[in-house]
Amino acid sequence: MTTVRIPPTLRPETGGAREVPAQGETVGELLDDLMSRFPSLTGKLEYANVYVDGEDVRTLDGHETQVRNGATVILLPAMAGG
């Protein structure tokens, strides 16, 4: 089981929950599990940056990135600074 942290803009789709549990051995499986339980997330997750234990999965193996049991997954909007 993995805990996924949900950003404020997506919380209406998860009944207001900041964190939800999800199952899957890879990031792709995890997101599929989330969308099956919260169908209104479908189409919205593609814009999220996904982090596994604090690292952006785009610099790991993308949706194939392995998620260990107990890992923390964070979804965030892309944000700039400067």
Binding site: P7, P8, T9, L10, R18, K44, L45, Y47, A48, N49, Y51, G54, E55, D56, R58, T59, I74, L76, P77, A78, M79, A80, G81, G82
Partner: protein, 333 residues
């Protein structure tokens, strides 16, 4: 010719001694003192003896941050291209440092400047901007830096009198780091395995990363990015997320989120162990630099510390207990 050689050439033409490592000699203008920042070893903070950790002290630029390089480069590129002439007004979205750097350049070159800033940027940054003579237009705090970008783009569209350098999409931003930051590090060190910098526009990581990869092909380019508080993520939807056009994530090897707690621990460690008084993004950069240093058997890790601690004194990072919680509502990067 790179920015560094350019400044050196001007010094020679002006009959001045080239600036040495000790910074002796004179400069015709403060703008000629942008860049050539010191690189210092952090021997007390390296997690193992076989890994050397260095910090590039960008807070020693004239207005106090790495953004002096970017502001100077963007304005001089626009002037050279004929896009910017006396009488035009400058407009820029910024969370602070780029605005302050642009305000310095604009003052010395005679351009009025308006900055679009999130209303929850730190008070020191707003005060500094006003002292340098800039006008501030505030954008909604809950939209973070992305809200400032959106508001500035709309304002520039409505009022064509503005020239917007636009650090997020201006190639002069990464070029300044290619010719300056990256070249200076390559010149100073015989070996670099990891480069760590904060992710804001992506300019430092793209430009310095590209330059250092030319000399050290196996270089790991690592971004430290802030984990934003809920209060500054109130975008209408994830589609409103903003990826700067100059940022190509595929050219990053690592992209690591850093919590407020980790950033604060980093700024405290820099001061306690090495006497370096640095800003909050530097704490995040140090955190990532130490984490990646610990993964190496041996090597050299260079961290780019974007600014000094002066603009964050009111936040109490160095002494206040439980400071992390009060960080949630403010834009720090």
């Amino acid at each position: 010719m790179g920015a560094t050689e350019d400044a050196a050439a001007r010094r020679v033409m002006a009959g001045q001694k080239p600036k040495g490592i000790a910074g002796r000699g004179t400069a015709p203008s403060l703008l000629d003192l942008v860049g050539d920042t010191p690189l210092v070893e952090l021997s007390r903070l390296s997690p193992k003896r076989s890994v050397r950790l260095y910090a590039k002290l960008e807070g020693q630029n004239p207005s106090g941050s790495i953004k002096d390089r970017v502001a100077k480069a963007m304005i001089e590129a626009a002037e050279a291209a004929g896009d910017l002439e006396p009488g035009r007004e400058l407009l820029e979205p910024t969370s602070g440092n780029t605005g302050i750097s642009l305000a310095l350049v604009a003052k010395l070159k005679g351009y009025p400047l308006t900055c679009v800033m999130p209303e929850n940027a730190t008070e020191e940054r707003k005060r500094l901007l006003r002292l340098y003579g800039a006008r501030i237009v505030e954008s909604p705090g809950d939209q973070g830096s992305n809200g400032a970008v959106r508001a500035a783009l709309e304002l520039a569209e409505r009022e064509p009198r503005y020239f917007m350098p636009f650090q997020y999409g201006n190639d002069a931003n990464p070029r300044a780091h290619y010719a300056g930051t990256g070249a200076e590090i390559a010149e100073a060190l015989d070996r670099v395995d990891v480069l760590v910098a904060g992710l804001g526009t992506g300019g430092t990581l793209m430009g310095a990363g590209e330059r250092l990869r030319e000399t050290y092909p196996d270089l790991v380019v690592a971004a430290a990015e802030p984990l934003p508080g809920d209060a500054v993520m109130g975008l209408r939807s994830l589609e409103d997320g903003y990826v700067p056009p100059i940022l190509d994530v595929s050219r990053l090897d690592r992209k690591v989120l850093v919590s407020n707690e980790e950033s604060v621990a980093g700024v405290r460690a820099l001061l306690d162990a090495e006497g370096i008084f640095a800003g909050v993004s530097s704490g995040a950069v140090l955190h990532v630099a130490r984490r990646l240093a610990a993964e190496l058997d041996d090597g050299v890790v260079v961290s780019v510390l974007a600014d000094g601690g002066w603009k964050y004194l009111s936040a109490g990072f160095w002494e206040a207990e439980d400071v992390e919680r009060s960080m949630e509502r403010t834009i720090w990067w």
